[in-house]
């Protein structure tokens, strides 16, 4: 206490003398400074700013509770993060070729993007799929497409992350089915399905059935994954899309962890022990431009989750307390103007992700504001990670920013503000209810409108967009998807339907309907549907018939 008093005295002296003189000569750029998400930033931070900070309780040691400094004692000294570039476009063949290309160039994990019809559970020949097939990702209609996508990939050695939510149960079944057909066992295959429907309702907006039955489908997958697939992470709790939809860093953190709480609750209600499935929950965050805010967000996330799992859910296994996460640099921060500048933004964001202790990282390509990335642009993005890993030196020590007054203070601020949001969501009755009430959706819409106004008033600057603008023509090459992809994919799904044993396919769909109606676990039935050659759209139609289709109340 005596020491703190002394420090404050010292600060006051400095402010009255050295600082005052400096300000008289050169005033500061603004009256107040704030982060990208509008958290206040002080002139300087010292030990006197670390209110309530306790070296043991707040920071601890890497690999130990509360994991502020990381979940592993050696972080990247043992092994660098997994460099996992998200890819997928056009047909299954096209994407399979891109995967082989990425693996040959040192990528260590696969990540599959699906097209819009697949994300929404429509077959490629559905009228709503018009013009969308293969555009934003790969089109998968049946287990045969999945087999083409995975052809000749070492599924026992690479892990595959699939960005799929509403029909995640079906894609997981297709992956298992295809892997088994390729000769791999269920115990050999490893990967992640995103399966985070709450953030879909909040932000990404690709859905099939309403929130409550969506949670039931997730419970079925959790039970199946826990019992049958020892190396599969069924849910990747995702803040990325929440942030990209316009949320602040605090909202991203808070809503993501509140979603996590809802899934843990759902797993327990499905009859699982918390320590049976919690160690395999993983997270996925955005990494935006504000360097220290992002690093603080990651550190606060680990500490908060550890406390939630230990104190709220009484998890005993330390692995249940771990917040493991994938990071993607912020797509929303890329500018169509002066696209080469995006390489620099991505490098800064990637560095923040690494200093925040991410387990895996996707770096965006500079041309992604126009279309899916070209191969050259993907290469620069991957090389950015390799330069950080092997040239910058930041991977050689654990949590290099730990103990920095600003970073620790910001970490605590993030934690406190996120806790306040989580409390509010608890008060509403939990995240499922909050989503039904449109609470997080409204909070995000407010934040994104506020930010846009700040840009219009130039209170926040985006280089090349609202300042440092030059007249320019679009000059970078962009990847075009051949419209033939849609036609060929439509032909293929029709061939699959024509060639299968119709009686078996029908029976499998009927069985699924019966199981969904009765409330029993549907995963085995979905697997049989997939093996019987039923298509994505047909399987989803069963769920639509039983659970109803979701319609969002339009909030602006």
């Amino acid at each position: 206490m005596e020491k703190l008093w002394q420090l404050r005295q010292e600060r006051q002296r400095w402010e009255a003398t050295t600082l005052k003189e400096a300000l008289a000569r050169q005033p500061e750029r603004a009256d107040q400074f704030s982060t990208l998400s509008d958290l206040p930033v002080n002139r300087i931070y010292g030990p006197e700013d670390l209110r309530g900070f306790d070296l043991e309780r707040s920071l601890g040691r890497p690999g130990e509770y509360p994991f502020t400094r990381g979940i592993h004692p050696t972080r990247y000294r043992g092994r660098p993060w997994t460099m996992r570039q998200f890819a997928g476009f056009g047909s299954a063949q096209d994407s399979n070729r891109r995967f082989h290309y990425l693996l040959e160039h040192g990528q260590t994990g696969l990540s599959v993007a699906f097209d819009m019809p697949t994300l929404m559970g429509y077959d490629s020949d559905h009228p709503r799929a018009l013009g969308e097939v293969g555009r934003e990702g790969v089109a998968i209609d049946s287990v045969q497409d999945m087999e083409i996508l995975l052809r000749d990939l070492p599924l026992d050695r690479v892990t595959t992350s699939m960005t799929i939510n509403a029909p995640a149960n079906i894609l997981l079944a297709m992956y298992v089915g295809a892997a088994e057909n390729m000769g791999f066992t269920r115990a050999q295959i490893g990967g992640t399905t995103q399966t985070d429907m709450l953030k879909e309702f909040i932000a990404q907006k690709e859905w099939i059935v309403p929130p409550r039955p969506s949670m039931k489908m997730i419970q079925d997958m959790l039970v199946f994954g826990t019992r049958e697939l020892p190396r599969w992470n069924v849910i990747s709790i995702s803040g990325y899309h929440i942030r990209e939809a316009g949320a602040t860093a605090v909202q991203e953190l808070a809503f993501t962890l509140a979603d996590g709480i809802a899934y843990v609750q759902a797993g327990i209600e499905a009859g699982l022990e918390v320590d049976e499935f919690a160690p395999r929950l993983s997270f996925f965050f955005d990494c935006h431009n504000d360097f220290f805010e992002e690093i603080a967000k990651f550190r606060a996330a680990r500490r908060l989750w550890a406390r939630i799992m230990r104190d709220r859910f009484k998890a005993k296994n330390p692995r249940s307390w771990w917040l493991r996460f994938h990071t993607q640099t912020a797509g929303v921060s890329l500018t169509a103007q002066q696209p080469l500048n995006n390489i620099v933004r991505v490098a800064i964001q990637a560095l923040a992700g690494v200093l925040g202790g991410t387990q895996s990282l996707h770096t965006n390509s500079m041309d992604e504001t126009y279309a899916l990335p070209t191969e050259d642009a993907v290469m620069v993005a991957l090389r950015t990670q390799q330069i950080i890993a092997h040239e910058s030196g930041v991977a050689d020590t654990v949590d290099p920013l730990g103990g920095a007054y600003f970073v620790e203070s910001m970490t605590t601020t993030m934690e406190e503000r996120a806790e306040a949001y989580i409390q509010k969501i608890d008060d509403l009755g939990g995240m499922v209810r909050a989503v039904e009430l449109g609470y997080p959706q409204r909070e995000i819409a407010e934040a994104s409108y506020h930010y846009q106004q700040q840009l219009e008033r130039k209170e926040k600057i985006i280089v090349g967009v609202n300042d440092f603008v030059v007249p320019e023509e679009q000059s970078i090459p962009i990847l075009r998807i051949d419209p033939e992809v849609e036609r060929r994919q439509i032909e293929r799904v029709r061939r699959v339907r024509a060639a299968r044993d119709e009686v078996r396919a029908r029976r499998a769909l009927d069985e699924l309907k019966r199981a969904a109606d009765s409330g029993e676990n549907t995963m085995d039935k979905v697997l049989e549907c997939v093996k019987a050659g039923s298509t994505m759209g047909e399987i989803c139609d069963v769920f639509r018939a039983v659970y109803g289709e979701y319609r969002e109340p339009a909030i602006i």
């Binding site: 819009m116 934003e136 846009q452 679009q474």
Partner: protein
């Protein structure tokens, strides 16, 4: 001076769920004094054209980020013609490459706003280019 408020439908055709832009623009147009109807997500061209006719809209603002704009924007224009709404001003925004912008304009889209367009620019354009439909018809 038109006495009736100009009515604009802001719509998201296609399956992509990226609605930040649509919502921000809808809100800016509303704050600028227009009557705005936001359709919500995942609208088919048929749904959008029908809504525009039924709501007696003066303009439609389309937002799309999935890359399906060529197919879907053109289809909406076609349907408006079929339904007698060819004087409804159609404008749009999203991730739309330069080459596609000229093709869409040739197909009848009045303006395309690409990433980085300010709200002020969009609002100003709407004020200058959208008039109540009844006025011209008289």
């Amino acid at each position: 001076m038109a006495t009736s408020k100009i009515r604009i439908i802001v719509a998201k055709p296609g399956l992509d769920g990226h609605d930040r832009g649509a919502k921000v623009v809808a809100r800016a147009l509303r704050d600028a004094g227009f009557e705005v109807i936001y359709t919500g997500l995942h609208q088919t061209p048929e749904m959008i054209a029908t809504a525009a006719i039924q709501e007696d809209a003066d303009a439609i603002g389309l937002s799309i980020l999935s890359g399906a704009h060529m197919m879907l924007f053109r289809r909406i224009i076609e349907l408006l013609r079929e339904k007698g709404g060819d004087d409804i001003v159609v404008f749009g925004g999203g991730i739309i490459p330069e080459d596609d912008v000229s093709a869409l304009k040739a197909a009848g889209v009045s303006e395309i706003f690409t990433p980085g367009a300010s709200l002020e620019t969009i609002v100003r354009w709407v004020k200058e280019h959208v008039k109540p439909r009844g006025v011209k018809a008289q």
